[in-house]
């Protein structure tokens, strides 16, 4: 059936601009202005997808962002493909392709449809109950479930589009450009408020723009005519920025909102390139006016989900706005007057309306009379008890409702039809309102949640604030605008409104059927296939909290967050549990209102900007010399320098040997450096380090250990006294920023009386660490006039010198146990310094080494790395570093914690060395350590923290933390691995040059 259902020309559809597009591989035509949904409906295509659990055929239900069913994959198989997109929101363009989701092999024949017939076996919680046992089977179940279910497919190649972010500060942000939003924006801007008006649609005007009910008049015009004139006037107003195709995704506290502005999605592919696709607007507004409107509610009855069953307001919009008839034989099912407007709209265009089924006993409004005059049959006090038609609705069965609305009586009438518009009343769109932290209250009379307690400068106007009739809307909007903008008069003062007064409603959350509930399928959440039956089952099984029922039944957990059915779920729970809706509370709506693509969220922060790297001044040299790099914090550090196809192990063994046998050089520029000055600098260091500083002579260096107040090791590094009141502190590479922050915190909050100034100078200096027995000779070549004798320049001391015209600070300190120098120059001279060292070191076969060799060399010496051998639970005592903890100092950060009962326990984990029985077996870092092998369960005594094959000792070495390890020297322990147990012996953690003789070699 390809009959064209385009019924009249609409001013929003450009019939001169014919567009061809593909849906499920078949070519269709639509016009400029169509959405994918309206174009499909014009081609009489209702079946667009399958439901998630039962794979039931589903059609287009709405005309907006609340759509639960018509979810498609856009441009499948291309790098611009996007899953889970609502067909009701996609504007068609030439060449657009879309396909159904969640069906295989096709939407017409879906093998998963068998789940529908098996549905007695798929109650709420089915997955939880069935697939939890035995636990090891989950992997097998998951494979099956993932393949037979699932929403769209994510793209497999990188996104070709550009995304952007923009910060916006405005006085007034108006969300929603229906009649209320337009009037609010206009009056705000006219009163000199910098105003922004956003709407998710491509046209302004909301639903009023096609409101042609002849009984409603504004200044003697139909609301539609009147609003068009207002929109025209908006164009001439200053202070007003209008953003269409812009959807507010999140409303955070303090009026901070995130909106997605869609810039190219409606353009042809060739026009999309090199343009920004979407822009994330980060809006901070002084005042927010919510004019988000209301969403029509469906009605919950047996088999209420067939293709062809739509919201009554959507049927009307397709006819009035897009000029499309959704069916040839239309009927409506309603509990209020809205459906009569839709019916009349169709009737006036010559579209056949068969009947209206109304659960109310009667209605006296003018529009109802008009419908009767038109000869449309109305069944009062009736309900639909069933529907028929697998891939398209073909008939409904109706019966008379009992007086209390809980059952049906009389005989069944069948009415043939191909489209059913349902009208269950209106739910204010309060999603953004609640996101802002503001609280709702249930209005028992109107049966809706309404804004109640605002937490920020905001107002809710129009139907999202509970005003549904144009006279109420304008009256209340006028007062709210005056109050919030603090103005005396508005354009609204003089507007005259006439309306059709009567609008009664009979709310029944779950409509009865002649069949028992267990034999029916009244869907509450269409996207997740949750029925009223599931909700009742959850209550029977003891779930009471709305949040629990929601999770158990998955109601409201889909990509649409249950925008249509959440109220019904609450209503059914309230009715079943016998409580009032207001007492039940509502569930929380969370951002985003509609899904955002990742591209929009990350904006420009993609590729190399995703996570910014820091590189040292010597970086180019490392790259030229084929270094492999390692990420340390944000830094890219040279890891090792393979030559002639060496493996990492081979390179590290060579580098480590060279550094001890002759000379090595390491780029240590990434170490944190903090310049400390002030008359209390020494006292300050006394308080932040565990050891004493007052007696450190100018020109000397000292290793310091910094604790947290809980006594655990926080950071370490060498600090040098440059002058009486001047120190330079080095920190670990990763800890630099946190250490500075911690020191500043103490200075500002605990010890403001201290005269100390801290400056981060990490990036100001480049550091080359020259080490090995020949390091002294190399340095001598570079700076011939510096006296390098042990008398003048001993270990742990500092000199200032010049290399040519480059000033440098040289510390004779060592992290490898070898005679070494750390040479610091201004960062811009870093590469120059490095090259000079390399050149001077040629004759000594100077070997550049990376972080891996550095780690190996220090492990040979038993030097810890904070963060590798410690994990925030280790005290200096645990590390057997008692020597660095001053007994004399009255106080320092963490001191008191070192003699808490817990930190003094003898059986704490303590740092030890481990030697493997087989010297060639290298332990795995992180491996667990036990003392018993034939015991189950067995106590884990600790774990390996650092492990290497030492080329200088020609055996495997490891550092580990072991419970009570301090007293286990020489004891045999075991490291159980997957396939074998490794025998190890506890040893002194200093493996190499225990007497530190090489420092002065």
């Amino acid at each position: 059936m390809t009959k064209n259902l385009r019924v009249k020309s609409s001013e929003y559809i450009d019939e001169t601009n014919r567009i061809s597009f593909k849906f499920n591989g078949k070519t269709y035509h639509g016009f400029k202005g169509d959405t994918l949904a309206s174009a499909l409906l014009a081609n009489n295509v209702h079946l667009v997808g399958r439901s998630f659990k039962y794979h039931r055929p589903r059609g287009i239900m709405t005309s907006g962002s609340e759509e639960p069913n018509a979810i498609v994959q856009l441009n499948p198989g291309t790098n611009r493909t996007e899953p889970n997109v609502r067909a009701t929101e996609i504007e068609i363009y030439e060449g657009l392709e879309a396909s159904s989701q969640n069906c295989w092999p096709s939407v017409e024949f879906d093998i998963g449809g068998i789940n529908n017939f098996l549905s007695p076996f798929f109650p709420a919680g089915f997955y939880y109950k069935t697939f939890m046992w035995p636990p090891s089977f989950w992997k097998k179940y998951e494979f099956f479930i993932r393949h037979s279910a699932g929403l769209g497919k994510s793209p497999t190649s990188s996104d070709p589009d550009i995304y952007d972010h923009r910060n916006i500060h405005c006085d007034v942000l108006v969300i929603g450009a229906g009649i209320s939003g337009i009037l609010a924006a206009k009056n705000a801007a006219k009163n000199n408020f910098k105003t922004m008006l956003v709407d998710e649609k491509n046209e302004l005007g909301g639903t009023t723009i096609f409101e042609n009910n002849e009984f409603n008049k504004i200044d003697n015009k139909t609301p539609s005519e009147w609003l068009k004139k207002e929109i025209e006037e908006l164009k001439h107003i200053k202070n007003l920025e209008i953003k269409t195709r812009t959807s507010v995704a999140a409303y955070h506290q303090y009026n901070y909102l995130l909106a997605r502005e869609n810039l190219t999605d409606h353009l042809e592919t060739k026009d999309k390139t090199n343009k920004i696709r979407q822009r994330l607007l980060k809006i901070r507004a002084k005042k927010v006016i919510l004019a988000t409107g209301a969403l029509e509610r469906p009605l919950i009855f047996n088999n209420n989900d067939r293709p062809g069953i739509m919201l009554s307001s959507a049927v009307k919009k397709y006819s009035e706005f897009y000029g499309v008839a959704c069916g040839n034989k239309n009927i409506f099912f309603t509990n209020n007057d809205s459906a009569y407007e839709s019916a009349l709209s169709l009737y006036n265009k010559g579209i056949n309306v068969e009947a209206i089924i109304d659960v109310r006993e009667q209605s006296e409004s003018k529009i109802v009379k008009k419908v009767k005059e038109a000869g449309i049959k109305v069944y009062w006090s009736h309900t639909i008890v069933d529907t028929a038609g697998y891939k398209r609705l073909n008939s409904v069965s109706i019966m008379k409702l009992s007086n209390d609305g809980t059952s049906v009586t009389g005989s069944k009438i069948s009415i043939s039809c191909d489209c059913l518009g349902v009208a269950g009343g209106w739910t204010p769109a309060v999603h953004l309102y609640t996101q802002s932290g503001s609280k709702l209250k249930f209005d028992e009379e109107k049966q809706i949640f309404l804004p109640n307690q605002n937490t920020s400068e905001q107002i809710s106007v129009g139907s999202c604030g509970g005003d549904f009739k144009i006279d109420e809307i304008i009256k209340n909007l006028n007062q709210k605008l005056k109050d919030t903008l603090n103005i005396d008069e508005t354009d609204l003062d003089s507007i005259k409104v006439e309306i059709d007064q009567e609008n009664s409603k009979r709310n029944i959350w779950l409509l009865p059927s002649d069949k028992p509930l267990g034999k029916t399928k009244p869907f509450v959440d269409y996207q997740n296939d949750a029925t009223a039956k599931d909700i009742k089952l959850a209550l029977r099984e003891g779930f009471r909290s709305i949040e629990h029922v929601k999770r158990y039944t998955t109601t409201g957990m889909g990509t649409d967050q249950g925008k249509l059915g959440n109220m019904h779920a609450l209503g059914i729970i309230a009715d079943t549990a016998g409580v009032k809706m207001g007492e039940l509370g509502t569930t929380t709506f969370r951002p985003p209102y509609t899904p955002l693509t990742f591209g929009t969220i990350v904006g420009r922060n993609v590729g190399k900007f995703f996570d910014i790297f820091r590189r040292t001044p010597m970086n180019d040299w490392h790259v030229e010399n084929k270094a492999e790099f390692e990420n340390v914090g944000q830094w890219k550090r040279a890891w090792y320098y393979p030559i002639n196809g060496e493996t990492m192990h081979q390179a590290v063994q060579r580098e480590s040997k060279a550094a001890r046998e002759s000379a090595g050089i390491l780029d240590a520029s990434t170490l944190g450096k903090i310049d400390i000055q002030g008359s209390d600098a020494s006292e300050f260091l006394n308080r932040v380090y565990t050891n004493a500083w007052s007696k450190l002579a100018v020109g000397k260096c000292r290793y310091g250990l910094m604790l947290n107040e809980d006594g655990m090791i926080y950071d370490d590094g060498v600090t040098t006294r440059l002058g009486e009141n001047h120190y330079i502190m080095t920190t670990t590479t990763g800890g630099a920023a946190n250490v500075l922050g911690k020191l500043e915190d103490y200075l500002q909050t605990e010890w403001p009386e201290l005269d100390v100034y801290l400056t981060s100078v990490t990036d100001h200096y480049a550091t080359a660490s020259l080490c090995g027995p020949n390091s002294k000779k190399i340095l001598k070549k570079i700076i011939p006039d510096l006296d390098l004798t042990d008398e003048n320049f001993p270990h742990m001391s500092f000199k200032e010198a010049n290399i040519g015209s480059i000033q440098c600070r040289i510390m004779r300190i060592s992290f490898t146990g070898e005679h070494s120098y750390e040479i610091n120059v201004q960062a811009s001279y870093g590469k120059d310094l490095w090259k000079k060292c390399i050149d001077a070191g040629q004759e000594f076969n100077i070997t550049p080494y990376g972080t891996e060799t550095m780690h190996l060399l220090r492990a040979e010496k038993g030097f810890i790395i904070v963060g590798q051998d410690t994990d925030g639970t280790m005290t200096p005592i645990d590390l057997q570093m008692d020597w660095i903890v001053s007994k004399k100092k009255y106080d320092f950060i963490g001191k008191r914690s070192l003699y808490r009962s817990d930190t003094m326990r003898e059986d704490r984990k303590q740092l030890v060395g481990l030697i493997t029985e087989d010297p060639n077996v290298v332990l795995e870092e992180g491996a667990q350590i036990v003392s018993e092998l034939n015991q189950s369960p067995v106590e884990m005594l600790g774990h390996v923290t650092s492990s290497y094959f030492s080329p200088n000792l020609n055996k495997s070495i490891a550092l580990a933390v072991v419970r009570g390890g301090k007293h286990m020297m020489g004891k045999q322990l075991f490291v159980p691995m997957e396939n074998k147990n490794i025998n190890v012996t506890v040893a002194n953690p200093v493996f190499y040059d225990e007497k530190n003789e090489r420092l002065n070699a």
Binding site: H252, Q253, Y254, N255, Y256, R284, G437, T455, E709, D710, G741, E744, D745, Q748, T749, E750, P752, Y890, D891, K895, R896, S897, R900, S901
Partner: protein, 91 residues
């Protein structure tokens, strides 16, 4: 996302700030005089109030100054902001 009025810089977005926990917990002047329990009280115990809470904030990506904030943790309303060393406002 809060809008925080740094006492040194003015209103700035929350992402420039770092929260620093409960305020007005003074570091004992003589820790060595304290029993384990007294020290633990300082070290570990925090009120974590639902309602009016006094807390420390740092303008980490700005002037780097620490200051105090009075915040209603139930709705995140910032009731007051004052500099370190200044007297907290009375409730």
């Amino acid at each position: 996302m809060f809008l925080i009025n740094c006492p040194y810089c003015g209103e700035r977005d929350q992402q420039e700030f770092k929260a620093g926990g409960e305020a007005h917990i003074e570091r004992p002047k003589q820790p060595t005089e304290l029993s384990d329990d007294e020290w633990a009280e300082y070290l570990f115990m925090r009120k974590n109030i639902k309602g009016i809470q006094f807390e420390r904030w740092n303008h980490a990506h700005g002037c780097r100054k620490w200051f105090n904030m009075v915040r209603d943790t139930s709705n995140d309303e910032i009731k007051a902001i004052y500099k370190m060393g200044e007297k907290p406002p009375s409730q």
